[in-house]
Amino acid sequence: MLDFLPENISSFGGEIDGVITYIWRIILAWLVATEAVLVYLLVRYRRREGRRAAWLPATTWRAKAWILVPAVFVTICDIGIEARSAPVWDEVKLELPEPDLLIRVTGRQFVWTFTYAGPDGELDTADDFEAITDLYVPRDRVVRFQLESADVLHSFWVPVLRLKQDAVPGRSIPGWFEATADGRYEIACAELCGASHTAMRGRLTVQPPEIFDAWSSTMAEQQSL
């Protein structure tokens, strides 16, 4: 089933896939074991002439142990899952690394706009430039984004980057990613945003850094004119 996951081109995507795989194995083991017990009991204790059911109200701790001990194992698995998962969340959402590139991503019914900080590396200055729908980024570089919305809720969703973050009007939400493979990929909006929610599709183009730099300078020059 996990083969359905799309290609991963994000530096932290492998970690997220790792968490999903880890949990998947644990829950699959539990599911198979529990369903097997269920089916076994159904077959084994189907009605038979002359066989009377047992009287097992489970009022003693010894009897209750049959359900409480498995529940303790569930708890242990839960703790294991949380221990495996929490550091990955922190890496992706909390510990933002020093950026090589700063972009503002703005969701607006029904288009994504990308504002580049330009040569000075700061947003809201004269050398900023914009790209609409198409996001160009350099490969193997840390991209920091500030996610904003101009109208309603949107969600910046890039499956190949394992990246999803809602855009909320009135907030500027920081995030980051580092793409590790050249190519053209898709961006979607994952939060219902109105009649053309479906069509709010963007493109991500990952390029070798030198090609990106060339593109970036051209854009900065053109838009400053």
């Binding site: 269920l38 909320v168 009135g170 053309s196």
Partner: protein, 568 residues
């Protein structure tokens, strides 16, 4: 008997104060709304499988209409199907009977509750037909999309949606108070809280959770209505408001609400399970405590719906911990059900089949929830079809499998007859098979990254390979709807053609089986007493394999141990 049997048709069948008539009204309204919700599911699935094609029975769905279809499918299934059938329908039918009361504590309030609910049903149906169409902001109605007319293009549709939901909550608040009062105060002599059938416990806790959770959402809905109609800015950042506020208010209610639906379903299953395994419940008090602790925990998990919503990322950890921990009491609960089957003598009836299938399928919904509960995994999984498949694997077993189980089981107490088992098995087999066919493909689609609430997945290159799965899922839902035909026929035909049931056709132990089928006005021919715990099936020794709660001890026959062991 405090109130005599009413004479006129209107007082007897329409504006009735009899809890059993009100239960039928709730159930039949709920089942009718389920057909509507099912039709919407068929419409949206057809659009996803064959985008842009004309859908048989509806025509071409425009993108904004698709949003309305999705929104109303969710809204109707949760608020107009699950709530009226599970909480109000079964609650009304069974709580008074099981505690041996002649009616609910407040029969007139009970009638008011149904008619407020009926009004809300009219309002939500009317919202389809107003200019601008029905609400299209999702069943969660997040502002700003739901908060202004210009953002969604929906005007009166959204206002009516809020009005309908508010009316519905009024109805269930009244109903909930009634259920709590009845369950606690109107127990027959001899019936301690620890002698209550599990169903009553689960209804009580569900009603209490609902009462505690619903306030914030009503406040949230009122603010939303004010934002829309009077230009306030509770959720508008330009006016100093915050859209996230609504999400907190919504999910503070919304997650406990899931358990408000789950608990009555588990209660139904507990009764059916014991009756057809001929065995007392395994760990009665353990189950009750697990339900109470789950009810408490349910108030501190809500933000797991909001991991990537813009919430401070430091909050993900505590909510992720509570979310994953809530799996523990439910694991205990389900393990207790499974353990009940150990050394049982299982009778496979249609009611039992639906309960067993509910356990088997709900476990799939439960374990996949652990993936969503991990904040890191949720970055990818959130708002994808994986989540859609997950909550349908919890809610469909809850809302439909448990309901069907309950209807086949208590049909005698509704209409005095038994439903046809042959048709029931056809219904069961079709429902089980097509349900899985519908939702297993959606797990795969979700893992591909298929995000929710898009009207045409084909415009995304990364989803084109999934089109086969889309079609499979849609065939599933068409089959699932078709599988309900034998049920609808069986439900109505059995009212006149079903085999007369007698008082206790399943040889069950709780008090509703002490009276005639259907019970008369006032419920019991004579005042009842509870002599023992609710599930004395196959007590040690010889003799019959069930001793009802209401059967006076026959001096010689009654083993003292049986009383004390079930009671404790």
């Amino acid at each position: 008997m405090s109130h005599g049997e009413p004479e006129s048709f209107v007082r007897k069948y329409i504006f009735s104060v009899d809890h059993k008539v009100i239960a039928k009204q709730y159930m039949i309204t709920g089942l009718f709304m389920a057909l509507l919700g099912g039709f919407l599911a068929y419409a949206l699935r057809s659009q996803l499988a064959w985008p842009g094609d004309s859908i048989v029975g509806l025509g071409v769905i425009a993108p904004h209409a698709y949003n309305s279809v999705v929104t109303l499918h969710g809204t109707i299934m949760v608020f107009w199907v699950a709530m009226p059938i599970l909480v109000a329908g079964f609650g009304n039918l069974l709580v008074p009977l099981m505690v041996g009361a002649e009616d609910m504590a407040f029969p007139r309030l009970n009638m008011l509750s149904y008619w407020v609910f009926f009004l809300s049903t009219i309002v939500i149906i009317a919202s389809f037909f107003v200019p601008g169409g029905a609400a299209g902001g999702g069943w969660t109605a997040y502002p700003p999309l739901s908060g202004t007319v210009h953002a969604s293009g929906v005007n009166w549709g959204m206002n009516l949606w809020i009005l309908a939901v508010a009316l519905e909550f009024v109805a269930f608040l009244i109903g909930g108070i009634n259920i709590i009062t009845t369950g606690i105060n109107m127990r027959v002599p001899g019936m301690s809280m620890w002698d209550l059938p599990l169903f009553v416990w689960e209804e009580l806790i569900a009603s209490i959770v609902f009462l505690l959770a619903v306030g914030p959402l009503i406040a949230g809905a009122v603010m939303l209505l004010l934002d829309r109609s009077f230009g306030t800015g509770f959720y508008a950042p330009s006016a100093g408001g915050d859209p996230l506020l609504f999400q907190h208010l919504f999910w503070f209610f919304g997650h406990p609400e899931v358990y408000v639906l789950l608990l009555p379903a588990l209660g139904i299953m507990g009764e059916v399970l014991c009756a057809f395994s001929r065995k007392t419940i395994f760990g009665y008090r353990t189950i009750v405590w697990s339900v109470i602790s789950a009810g408490l925990l349910s108030f501190v998990v809500w933000a797991h719906h909001q991991f990537v919503s813009g919430l401070d990322p430091r909050l993900a950890f505590p909510f992720s911990v509570t979310t994953i921990l809530i799996s523990v009491p439910f694991a205990v609960h389900l393990f207790a059900f499974i353990a009940t089957l150990y050394k049982a003598s299982i009778r496979f009836t249609v009611a039992m089949a639906f309960t067993l299938a509910m356990i088997a399928l709900f476990m799939i919904g439960g374990v996949t929830g652990v993936i969503n509960g991990s904040a890191a995994a949720d970055i990818f999984i959130h708002d994808t079809y994986f989540v859609v498949a997950h909550f349908h694997y919890t809610l469909v077993p809850i809302v439909f499998f448990a309901t069907f189980s309950g209807i086949y089981f208590w049909y005698p107490k509704l209409f005095g007859r038994l439903m046809n088992e042959g048709l029931g098995w056809v219904h069961f087999a079709g429902t089980f098979f097509f349900f899985n066919l519908t939702f297993i493909p959606q797990f795969a689609l979700g893992l591909m990254g298929h995000h929710r609430r898009i009207a045409n997945p084909q415009i995304f290159e990364f989803l084109r390979d999934g089109q086969g799965l889309q079609v499979l899922s849609t065939i599933g839902v068409i089959g699932l709807l078709a599988a309900q035909v034998p049920f609808v026929y069986n439900f109505f035909a059995s009212m006149v053609r079903g085999k007369p049931a007698g008082r206790n056709p399943w040889e069950a132990t709780t008090l509703e089986w002490a009276t005639a089928s259907p019970p008369p006005h006032g419920n019991f021919d004579e005042p009842q007493t509870a002599y023992r715990g609710p599930y004395v099936y196959s007590p040690p020794g010889e003799g019959p394999d069930w001793i009802p709660q209401f059967e006076p001890p026959a001096e010689a026959l009654e083993p003292d141990t049986a009383i004390s062991e079930t009671a404790s």
